[in-house]
């Protein structure tokens, strides 16, 4: 698995590229990837992102996530003390061949995205009957 910021110009293909405002700050969210019995699980911290404002896309073997942060702060509020910056989240991953792309599922809970990447099930060995001629 690699992680890289995909330049906007690079994401061309049959699926429309992810749209994000370039004038805003875009952050690379911290992630965990761990193995389970069934495959891999990816967790990403996306505070402020709701399930409606999250775009998860698979193109070929690249999984990209783009989370739009919607602030609950009224626009007239003045920022008087700042310790962290608010911005959208963008990150993409190259999936290995062992991941079953068709069965990938994802859920978002309190700002944490969890993507389940099931391992491709290997076909069972099959006995080929030999005909006696």
């Amino acid at each position: 698995m690699t992680n890289q910021i995909v330049p906007r110009s690079n994401s061309t293909g049959p699926i429309p590229p992810l749209e994000y405002p370039v004038d805003q700050v875009v952050f690379t969210p911290p992630i965990d990837i761990f193995e389970t019995a069934d495959g891999l699980v990816l967790q990403a911290d996306l505070p402020g992102v709701s399930s409606e404002s999250l775009e998860l896309q698979i193109q070929d073997n690249k999984l990209s996530l783009f989370g739009r942060v919607s602030l609950t702060i009224p626009p007239e509020a003045r920022l008087i003390h700042q310790e962290y910056q608010v911005g959208h989240f963008l990150r993409s991953f190259i999936l290995s061949d062992e991941v079953d792309h068709e069965r990938i599922s994802a859920k978002l809970n309190q700002g944490v995205l969890e993507v389940i990447l099931p391992r491709l099930s290997k076909p069972e060995p099959r006995r080929i009957p030999i005909q006696i001629v």
Binding site: I31, D32, F34, S50, R78, E83, Y84, Q110
Partner: protein, 155 residues
């Protein structure tokens, strides 16, 4: 005369340490989390009627989040849980911070502590701190006290 003495030998290291600390302080390792900074980082917004304090706490369960106020000090504490039952060697990548955290903040004087409200949505904690209305100047009546108490008996 000794060229090298322990007492002096450590000073350059301390200087180096300080310089490295300063360098690292400018580098944001993870989004929002920096060395020498308290966790969680908070932003404070001001409105006409209230202050809003926000903190990003993804992966914290609302029932594990504690917001306490006592004598003008706001304390928030909780813990960030990693995935349960996953051994460390199962991780291919581990970047998300975890573990218990606590932070205390001193509030300005004119806050209505009893009207404080907190909500937790999409991993962002927002605490509303309503401002107290401007207090009216109050006259303190001065009465004639017992002169016997006020004067010092010099005899």
């Amino acid at each position: 005369m000794p060229v090298f003495r322990w007492g002096h030998a450590w000073n350059p290291i301390r200087d180096l340490e300080r310089e490295v600390d300063q360098l690292l302080a400018k580098v944001s390792l993870f989004h929002g989390i920096r060395f020498g900074q308290q966790y969680p980082p908070v932003n404070v917004y001001e409105l006409d009627e209230e202050f809003l304090l926000t903190a990003e706490l993804p992966g914290t369960r609302a029932e594990e989040l504690e917001v306490l106020i006592s004598n003008g000090v706001l304390t928030i504490k909780g813990r960030r849980n990693g995935p349960e039952g996953i051994a460390d060697d199962r991780f291919r990548r581990q970047e998300r911070p975890r573990g218990p955290w606590q932070r205390s903040l001193t509030l300005p004087d004119h806050i209505q502590e009893e009207k404080l409200a907190a909500e937790f949505t999409n991993g962002v904690l927002c605490i509303r701190l309503p401002k107290a209305s401007a207090t009216q100047p109050r006259q303190i009546p001065v009465t004639n006290g017992n002169p016997g108490i006020a004067t010092v008996d010099r005899t």
